[in-house]
């Protein structure tokens, strides 16, 4: 480290998640060096102390512990991952304070929500939920995160609208909001400008663009041969082929059989106000009907109708038409020794995908339960305390923690008394 030469951070730069606020280099180097030796006891100890602090904290700002814990986790586990528990911590933290009105516009709490949203598969849903619950509606960071998400998805109109919404709600700090809004507008206008310039420059190229599904003039007298060059004169003039992009826009209505849905045009007819849906009934996390599992495409055959009318579903996989070359010296692969009795069938298999459950949905369910007030179970022990952190505690740990606190307090007061008596003696 003295020379800064072969610093750890450079060797594992691909495994470090960049953070918005940057990383403390000392924490980073420490984390990386410890990573090689496996999880160290120091980290575990600190984690444990955070966990117990979460439970025994009695001050009036419980969010502070969560905030520190989460920031510590971010810095200590630079590659994220499961052992960091970050996703779960964020979820627990945001769930814990959804009912606490005083935190709803606390910048720390809003930050936690934004981090939580970025971990969700559908951040936009989470932002809408936040808006409905009035979390962060006077915080500039909330609108920035929301708008950036829209911008990432290419929806500049909505991104702009979010900033206007923020301005309407007088989000603080306002100059930051205005500044980001202006930056967005600048980006969008620059993009429009460059795309216009591009259009102008390839005007020439557009004429020579290939048209798909077009009839081609054939060449040759005996046999009709489709021309190699399939643009320009080769295309029959009355063709109704699909043209791409710009050409389509000019004459699509007259020439094309397809009505092309233009998202942008539809949008402009709609009222500008984004609709705020009520979140009383949790929406389904995804449209489940249309889900299709990702699978291999290369060997899949379309079910083909044979001449006799019934469908041939699967053709047997064809054998390769060539003889694979096998080196003479090559031994047939020996079987890997198998320890498991083949008669026993308890082999590990991939876990079946369980019911889809997004963090946001869990959150909504939790909220609904709380709102309905009909919690069906009633636990006769302090379940909240045992389960409130990222890891589970047992009673003994809690008891020990209380005991230690008491001891500390006792010695503290005794010390004070000692001092006091010393004072009087003087």
């Amino acid at each position: 480290m003295a020379e800064g030469g072969d610093a750890d951070w450079e060797l594992s730069k691909e495994n470090i998640q960049p953070l918005r606020r940057g990383r403390a280099i000392s924490a980073l180097n420490q984390a990386l060096s410890q990573q090689q030796d496996g999880p160290s006891s120091a980290i575990n100890q600190q984690k444990q102390s955070f966990e117990s602090e979460l439970r025994i904290y009695e001050g009036d700002d419980p969010l502070d512990v969560w905030d520190r814990y989460i920031k510590w986790t971010e810095q200590t586990f630079p590659q994220g991952g499961k052992e960091s528990n970050l996703a779960m911590l964020l979820e627990r933290a945001v769930t814990r304070f959804t009912e606490e009105q005083k935190y709803h516009n606390d910048p720390r709490y809003v930050d936690l929500w934004i981090k939580f949203a970025e971990n969700c598969p559908e951040p936009l849903d989470t932002y809408r939920y936040m808006q409905a619950k009035a979390i962060g509606v006077t915080q500039t960071s909330f609108y920035i995160a929301w708008s950036e998400e829209y911008e990432k998805q290419g929806n500049f109109r909505q991104a702009d609208m979010i900033y206007q919404e923020g301005l309407k709600n007088c989000a603080e700090p306002q100059d930051k909001l205005l500044h980001f809004h202006k930056a967005l507008q600048a980006r969008v206008s620059r993009q429009v400008m460059t795309s216009m310039v591009m259009d102008d420059s390839d005007d020439e190229a557009k004429h020579a663009e290939r048209v798909s599904l077009a009839d081609l003039k054939h060449r040759g007298k005996k046999k009709a041969i489709a021309p190699v060059n399939r643009v320009g004169a080769a295309v029959k003039s009355n063709s109704q082929g699909l043209q791409s992009q710009g050409a389509l826009a000019s004459n699509n209505a007259a020439n094309s059989r397809f009505v092309v849905f233009d998202e942008n045009k539809i949008h402009s007819d709609e009222p500008a106000e984004p609709k705020v849906e009520s979140w009383m009934a949790p929406p389904p996390a995804r449209a489940k009907e249309n889900e299709q599992k990702p699978e291999k495409w290369c060997d899949v055959k379309m079910p083909q109708r044979s001449r006799f009318g019934h469908t041939l579903t699967s053709l047997p996989p064809s054998k390769p038409t060539f003889q694979p070359f096998v080196e003479e010296s090559d031994q047939p692969p020996t079987m890997t020794p198998c320890k498991i009795n083949p008669a026993v069938n308890t082999v590990l298999s991939a876990r079946k995908p369980c019911k889809e459950e997004t963090p946001l949905k869990r959150l909504q369910e939790h909220h609904q339960q709380a709102e309905a007030g009909k919690v069906q179970e009633q636990s006769m022990y302090c379940k909240e305390l045992l389960l409130s952190g990222a890891t589970e505690f047992c009673f003994e740990e809690l008891r020990a923690e209380r005991y230690r606190q008491k001891i500390a307090q006792d010695s503290g007061t005794r010390g004070q008394m000692d001092q006091a008596s010393a004072g009087t003696a003087n």
Binding site: G22, A24, R68
Partner: protein, 202 residues
Amino acid sequence: MTSTLKGITLKGSAELVAEFFSFGINSILYQRGIYPPETFTRVTQYDMSLQLTTDVKLKNYLTNVVSQLKEWLFECTVQKLVLVITCLETNEVLERWQFDIECDKSAKESSAPREKSIKTIQDEIRSVIRQITATVTFLPLLESACSFDLLVYTDKDLVVPDRWEESGPQIISQSEEVRLRSFTTSIHKVNSMVAYKKTDSV
């Protein structure tokens, strides 16, 4: 510059170091998004592809600085080059890239070339620039529009040229500092370092 040459002279060294600064500054400006990425073009240098600005004003400014720097390097009067990134609105210094230059002044007297091949030097330079690129892993995101400034520390007795003015050090209060690799031409040694605002957590 012929790479077949085995030794290195003061003049060659000054040129190499100045060239490094030209590419290094360009890559910092690109990496940190000080200028929009569209205004950069890709070139191949030191066996890797680097980004060079196409912005005319910036180009002129940099050529100006680098040619001045080359002179000072040749005279061995330069001590430091600092690239400061400041927030446009608040004028707060957010990042400070510092390159300490150690000159071997004895090279001024004896003009005998030193034994170090250009290839080795370029290898060292490459690893410095690689490290500059890799710093995005821990540097904070620059959220607002930023501007940059170049400061050059020279020997005290130097006359300030017309186009230059004296400036403060522009230190970041409460900064985190990371030393990067260094390289040497055996006449000039360049140590790099980046300082950035400390995160308020932990």
